[in-house]
Amino acid sequence: MTATKIFSARKIITMNPNQPVVSHVAVRDGRILGAGSLADLEGWGDYELDTRFADKVLMPGMIEGHAHTMEGTLWRNVYVGWFDRTDPDGKTWSGAKTLEDILARLSEAEAKLGDPNEPLSGWSLDPIYMDNQRVSRQDLDSVSATRPIGVLHASGHILNVNSKALELAGLLKPGVNHPGIPLGADGLPTGELYGPDAMTPVGVHVGYDRAMTDCDERGLLDYAKLCVRAGVTTSTDLAARLTEESVSMMLDVTARTGFPLRVVPLRVFFGLTAQECVSYVLELKEKSTDLLRLGRIKAVADGSIQGFSARMRWPGYYNGAPNGLWYTPPEHLSELYSLALAAGVQVHTHTNGDQATQMALDVFENAVRDTPSPDHRYTIQHCQLADAAQFAKMGKLGMCVNLFANHHYYWGDEHYRLTVGPERAERMNATRTALAANVPMAIHSDAPVTPLGPLFTAWAAVNRITASGRTQGEGEKISVDQALYAITMGAAYTLHLDGELGSIEVGKRADFAVVEDDPTAVDAMALKDVPVWGTVQGGRIFPTSEL
């Protein structure tokens, strides 16, 4: 028999309604032997008592239900975002608050580059917090006129580049006629590039090529460090291409001693038929290990709200922008759902606009009527603008939702003022309505779009504060308990992993978040500030101080 270790803690929040709070948890073989009082657990036989968490609070390891491991890769570039943000090594980069700050930070990084042709890449720029001050190619030329420079916006939908980058792409010329490439008074591109069509030809010259959503080895290792810092023990990688090469890299990395994260990558439904996609993930599923769970599909119905590419129902965008784009037409989604339901493969579907949500629900209702699958747990991801009727429909159809709670903090003011207007901005990411309609719910960061951090995400759902400090959607606030459930059991449920993860309960994986304060006792406004000491993953201990 292998050794049993019993951890004591100041408090253990279990998410098990039969014993919501306990004092001890016993671990054997990486799994939870039991939770309860020390007396309850002593009956399992010999044990070693570990009191290192005597002044800490344990909760189930947090589960990020919608993020992208590319956040780990992006940290090799220069962070120029408005908000303070912590990198994989624990350094907190203060927010860059002015154009001068941004240029100074880029210049500092530029000075450290050896090869004069190596591109300089920045990320997470967001001019909306700086009175929409535009960054021109001339601004970036002041950092370097000879080295290509590109700075990606936080939304991922805009890229700013310098003159050298435009020149390398052959675009530093008059007469460029493209809706995504504004021209300056001199008739030349200003250096702002809107949308993937305009970004792609220049992106390759500034370190943002088309494969950038695929994480590499170092990126995955760095992403896992970010997870430990956030108390996350399981994370999705929600839109991976999962080439043979990247799957073998992920199998290798996740099998290494000391790798602290369970990764759940979803194969994105692009570039292959529904039949090929389903067959491929069924093949991949056979390769799954405890720390790499393969076999799910992500579909993308539409674009993004702030990029005006989300599909909206009437009356459309508040500023009158034309309706967005279908990324996957209804016919293809229908075929995918039918084949995947028949094969027992789960599909998560990105919808941002309410028309995209409606389309997915309509198509799914038909598919599931033809191919009943009582425990499908098909999940709508983002689902930001769904109304009560749509949540009611999702509840009846047995669907789950993963709402983008961070969004109304980071872009809520923009949605209120510009994209969808006050009324719909108030109901965006309607967590309370979803729960009232009995829709199993998770909430997410979509890292790197917003920073990984489920406690922050929970805070955002509880308080619904925007970046400017307004409360947006009082009626959609949820309780701290509901939010903590969403980032543990809620997310586990959307992945069919609720039998293994999400609570501290006999038989489950020994995955804990170790925090310095009791998130259920602190002021709700302080939830995001509860310090994370580290994690326990499969019984292995990962303090942030030793990453």
Partner: protein, 315 residues
């Protein structure tokens, strides 16, 4: 990429001229793939490079395929075909390494793509020249589709971009339905000329322009596989106000779907004249190719006499 090997060309344009790209759009089921197969089967010696976006295996008729390697399908007659997934620009860059270089690129977009946006992006590339937006519609279903809550605006935005609308599956609709459809499409696709087809049998020259020039003065329907199209060719010696001529050919009710030629201008230079649908282009050249002009249009609609007197007023 090898700059020492500029794209060859089967027409008389100088070899340094950019590679023409025709974009074929239209919603799922409109018949884009059938049209592409038809073009490959009737390429008339031109080396076509077909880039398809539709999901999955490329649906090229098996009997056309000579070889398949690294995702590149070789077709009888020197044509090639590959899938570009989400990376059209990259796929076109890759084509530059293909030898012998293709004469013409055809891009078959996804069913939800807006072909005008695709062309705007392609136009950012230096060594290619957008050569027409062809949008296919399913004659049986397009009106219903254009009113659909989900896809209606995708259909209408595709049609707004069109320079040539191919009303496909004509065999499945009655003459009166076709008349109603033609009138509706005149509103939905105001910059396009309409041509009818069944099973995607549209002549290569109507889709691609850049026509190989036949013998002078001939009116030919040969080479137009279904006999629905005809063309008229000239060696015009009369100097023209070339932009004005181009505009008349494109927008006058002359039944011209495409025209291309080298025309002497009143300024003494030779101009390249091209029309696609109702759009036209006239460009002064710095060299002097032999003057020639070819116009193509639906048989019976191509106003050959009017075109002749326009182009050769002294004859």
């Amino acid at each position: 990429m090898n700059p020492a090997n500029p794209p060859a060309s089967s027409d008389t344009a100088p070899t340094a001229s950019p590679l023409p790209i025709t974009v074929i759009g239209g919603y799922l089921g409109a018949g884009k793939t059938t049209l592409v197969n038809h073009l490959l089967r009737n390429a008339q010696g031109r080396r076509l490079a077909v880039l398809v976006n539709e999901f999955g295996s490329i649906a090229i008729d098996e009997d056309l395929i000579e070889a398949e390697e690294d995702g590149l399908i070789s077709i009888a007659g020197g044509c090639i075909c590959c899938s570009f997934g989400n990376d059209l620009i990259g796929a076109i860059e890759d084509l530059r390494a293909v030898k012998p270089a293709p004469d013409h690129i055809i891009v078959e977009t996804s069913g939800v793509a807006l072909p005008g946006a695709v062309v705007a992006s392609l136009a950012l590339m230096d060594h290619i020249r957008p050569d027409g937006i062809v949008v296919l519609v399913d004659g049986e279903t397009v009106i219903k589709q254009s009113r659909d809550d989900y896809i209606g605006d995708t259909i209408t935005r595709q049609l707004l971009d069109a320079e040539i609308v191919v009303i496909n599956k004509r065999d499945l609709i009655s003459d009166s339905t076709a008349a109603t459809l033609t009138s509706a499409l005149t509103d939905l696709a105001p910059s396009a000329v309409q041509i009818e087809a069944s099973f995607g049998t549209v002549p290569l020259n109507a889709v691609l322009g850049a026509v190989a020039v036949p013998a002078q003065g001939s009116v030919a329907s040969g080479g137009h596989s279904d006999g629905l199209f005809e063309s008229i060719a000239f060696t015009p010696d009369h100097p023209h106000d070339v932009p004005a001529l181009a505009e008349q050919l494109a927008t006058g009710p002359l039944g011209v779907v495409r025209a291309k030629g080298y025309i002497a201008g009143k300024d003494g230079d030779i101009w390249l004249l091209q029309t696609v649908g109702k759009r036209w282009q006239a460009e002064r050249l710095d060299h002097h190719p032999t003057t020639q002009l070819v116009c193509i249009g639906p048989k019976g609609q191509l106003a050959t006499d009017e075109i002749r007197s326009l182009v050769q007023p002294t004859l």
